[in-house]
Symmetry: C2
Subunit: 513 residues, 2 copies
């Protein structure tokens, strides 16, 4: 009869997670997580990165998942740690990224004292997680740790609260062996294909896990066979893009534009994408963007066995692929920087198999079209609209794939939420190149004011959008990342080439008018 | 018969808040708050400060309350804005600071579409607020806005969610006149005084709203008359301190020390303070710190009419005050900086009527005792333990009282959560002097590891505490604040004198071994 080795709850949790498959933790721990930190030193399979603010850690876990397809751990301190981390947990949920969130808490017996750091932690966990549990009994730790990992591996934010006393008490039960195989339902493509055959002006919207090279090639084949227009969702978690890969048209952000595009079609077929809805509601504009006249068909839902379904549907649609790669687009990036030249310069500079973390907001709008013929790369976008994600997501992507170049096209307003991520990039020697789109304003808010009929904002409204007075290169250097400032497309291209050839992180402030 | 002027819901809310007494808003708005931003321009009584991350705004509202005793507004964007802001709402709640939190939301009709930025906003509001409501009907806005202000004025975090459509729709009802007078219950001091007379080794613990000069003088008079030791709570919202003001002994942070101190007394009387509890639970250590042998008496609760109760109790205890001000302590600050010399130099430099925002964590521990004889100042501490508060709280304190010097003694680890606040300090030309305690580590976590028996942390645990590689002066300058670096007490004193004489913010990195 075997006996469990002697370990405490914290050691059991870290060992269980390692056994389940966890390889990396992004951490900002405090007093109630110290036994977990100690346990990390006893588990060689799990490495750890410190974030200076918790939202760095959760953005990094999101980036890590999108590149590796595997959940990272996130180690947080009590309720304030969880709320600090919540915006990027939100973005991760909207990307269907999984993560194992571990939170130390006060022992149950301490909760009656309403001590200064106490919050409604379970309520917060329920509002920020897909799955959560509290492990007050150390012997429950292996089962709950294994369940948290399996839930995270299915693409869910999975939060396990472990009180400090359960971390230090002995855990006498054995670990759970192995990882559950994820079951993805197959759905017959027959009815969607019938509808495609019958439709006059069909379209196919791809998203989620359909956006791999093979998924896109299959989708392109299906669309071509049925005369359907191929679209992708506006904000995708990760898409394999560039030369040799089909480039769906991107659904527009503003609802009036999306309504116009979608209104042209009598059939809308979804593959991995959700039904398109407006990001924000505007007066007189519907939230759901499908025209009343168009029929909706689901070829594959986000959690389905999408590879198999697309492959079978492509095979049934046309015996062989007819996809012609787009020629490389040689858009010019010369002269003073503007959004289109910045995007063209970045697209031209992308090395093969690079990763583009796109939180450029208004500045990176032209990038999608300008990068159709770029060298093959993976494109990550802000899925949940909670700004302050890019620098942390780039860190996590780089740690998931250290030999690839990561380029973070980063809006300045959004970047100012999370400059601390640069320090973790420097400490990890992550090969992340930040192209900071410096327009010194929340430009999207100016656009929204104009949409609301405020063409000349008053002084207070103007001040709410104005970011003047930031010296980005000084901030980046302060966090340990070498930084330069460029004002032309040529200079941006030259600095990107230099940064791509260098080791470790680089920061390029691209000054826009 | 009067008719309400024509205004929309956003205009009605801002006008109602102005009429109720609101004078300042700390804002980080987004699309769903644009009508509110527009309305600010039509309301001259309310000024606004932009924060680059929401936790800046809530820390500022907390600092504003602690100095002015009046609630500021906080304008946030949806669920991610609220969670970004939540850590400093937590600190504010623990300080009993009031604030009016306004959150724009999607219209009710948009919620069914589960659009990308949707979160369980009401659940989050319930977990982060003392009071909350949703104003889906524009005609409900004046009543709910007035109620939110009155709740905030009573020292409560009061959150009003206003959907975007209710902001733009016409509001046809008149505003609510005037502000409710706050009713504070009086409680007879008789039984507490009887207990003090009967006790052998009594003590009196003051906290909360008792920590004004008059409250402290009365408490000192009561304590002296009964031979009671006078203590204050460990983390107080704001205390009037320095020469001419009684200096209670501060209850120790670690429970074993507090247990020892409190165990000496057979009677513990509370005035404005809560029953002392351990910040964290440790094995074998109780959460509630009163010895079983000591009797607890409440002279005044945190919400009581504490001024009147203390005055009457002092009058009943002794006919006249016998308080002798402590002589000024001339502790030396010469030579290489260490925690005690840093604190002595700051205490000596404090100008009369200055404000000291103390998030120095381990470094500022000696400050309390070393500043007993300083020029009169107000001392603010971190009440909720959620680090990343000081730079924002200093901003809010300065905006509440622009003619006073604000000095923020700031731990580096905690400061790295919220460096963005420096930019708002620069933009507001706030006279905030940051003394950054640069020890390049989360020292408190090293102490906690040692308490947990880990005297030599492993490489991962060490990395989780290590903040090497930050160039603070570069970061501060990047946010627009002039910055210097000092390594001796003499240089710190000289730079503080220069910064105090200058206008606007200054940043001094004080390098500790």
């Amino acid at each position: 009869m075997s006996t469990a080795p002697s370990r405490n709850g914290a050691g059991a949790l870290v060992s269980q997670l390692a056994l389940s498959g966890l390889r990396h933790v992004f951490a900002n721990p405090g007093t109630t997580e110290m036994p977990l930190v100690e346990a990390l030193d006893n588990e060689p399979a799990v490495s750890a990165t410190l974030g200076l603010q918790e939202n760095v850690c959760t953005a990094a876990a999101d980036g890590y998942w999108r590149i590796s397809g595997e959940p990272a751990g996130v180690l947080l301190h009590l309720g304030p740690g969880l709320t600090n981390a919540a915006a990027n947990l939100h973005n991760a949920r909207r990307a269907r990224s999984g993560a194992v969130v571990i939170i130390g808490d006060h022992p149950d017996r301490h909760l009656a004292s309403d001590s200064p750091l106490q919050t409604p932690l379970e309520t917060l966990a329920s509002a920020t997680s897909d799955w959560w549990a509290r492990a007050s009994d150390p012997d429950a730790v292996p089962a709950l740790g294994g369940a948290a990992f399996n839930s995270a591996a299915a693409g869910r934010i999975s939060t396990l609260i472990v009180p400090a006393d359960a971390q230090v008490a002995a855990c006498e039960v054995p670990l759970r062996q192995g990882q559950l195989a994820l079951e993805r339902p197959y759905r017959s493509p027959a009815s969607a294909l019938d509808a495609l055959r019958a439709a006059k002006r069909p379209c196919l919207i791809v998203g989620g896990r359909a956006l791999t090279q093979s998924g896109l090639l299959a989708a392109e084949q299906i669309a071509a066979a049925h005369g359907a227009t191929l679209y992708c969702e506006t904000f995708f978690a990760v898409m394999e893009r560039g030369f040799g890969r089909p480039a769906p048209r991107r659904l527009p952000y503003f609802p009036e534009d999306a309504l116009k595009v979608l209104g042209e079609h009598d059939l809308v077929v979804l593959a991995g994408a959700l039904e398109p809805v407006a990001f924000f509601a505007y007066p007189g504009m519907p939230s759901r963007l499908l025209s009343n006249r168009s029929v909706l068909q689901i070829l594959a839902g986000p959690e389905d066995a999408i590879d198999d379904i697309l492959k079978d549907a492509a095979q049934a649609s046309a015996p062989s692929s007819t996809f012609d790669p787009m020629p490389t687009i040689g858009a010019s990036w010369e002269g003073s920087l503007k959004a289109s030249t910045l995007c063209a310069a970045v697209a031209a500079a992308l090395p093969e198999d690079s990763i583009l973390v796109d939180e450029g907001i208004t500045t990176s709008l032209p990038f999608y079209d300008l990068s159709v013929g770029a060298r093959p790369f993976r494109h990550l976008t802000l899925t949940g609209g909670a700004i302050g994600w890019g620098p942390g997501a780039a860190l996590g992507a780089s740690i998931a794939s250290p030999n690839q170049t990561v380029i973070n096209v980063q809006a300045d307003g959004a970047g100012l939420y999370l400059p601390q991520a640069l320090w973790s990039q420097a400490r990890a020697s992550a090969h992340v190149i930040t192209v900071l789109c410096s327009n010194r304003t929340y430009r999207i808010l100016g656009a929204e004011l104009a949409r609301a009929g405020v063409s000349v904002p008053g002084p207070k409204a103007s001040a709410m959008c104005d970011l003047a007075g930031i010296e980005w290169t000084s901030i980046a250097r302060g966090f340990g990342v070498p930084a330069v400032r460029v004002e032309t497309g040529e200079a941006l291209a030259a600095e990107m080439a230099r940064a791509i050839a260098a080791d470790g992180p680089s920061f390029i402030e691209a000054v826009l008018p």
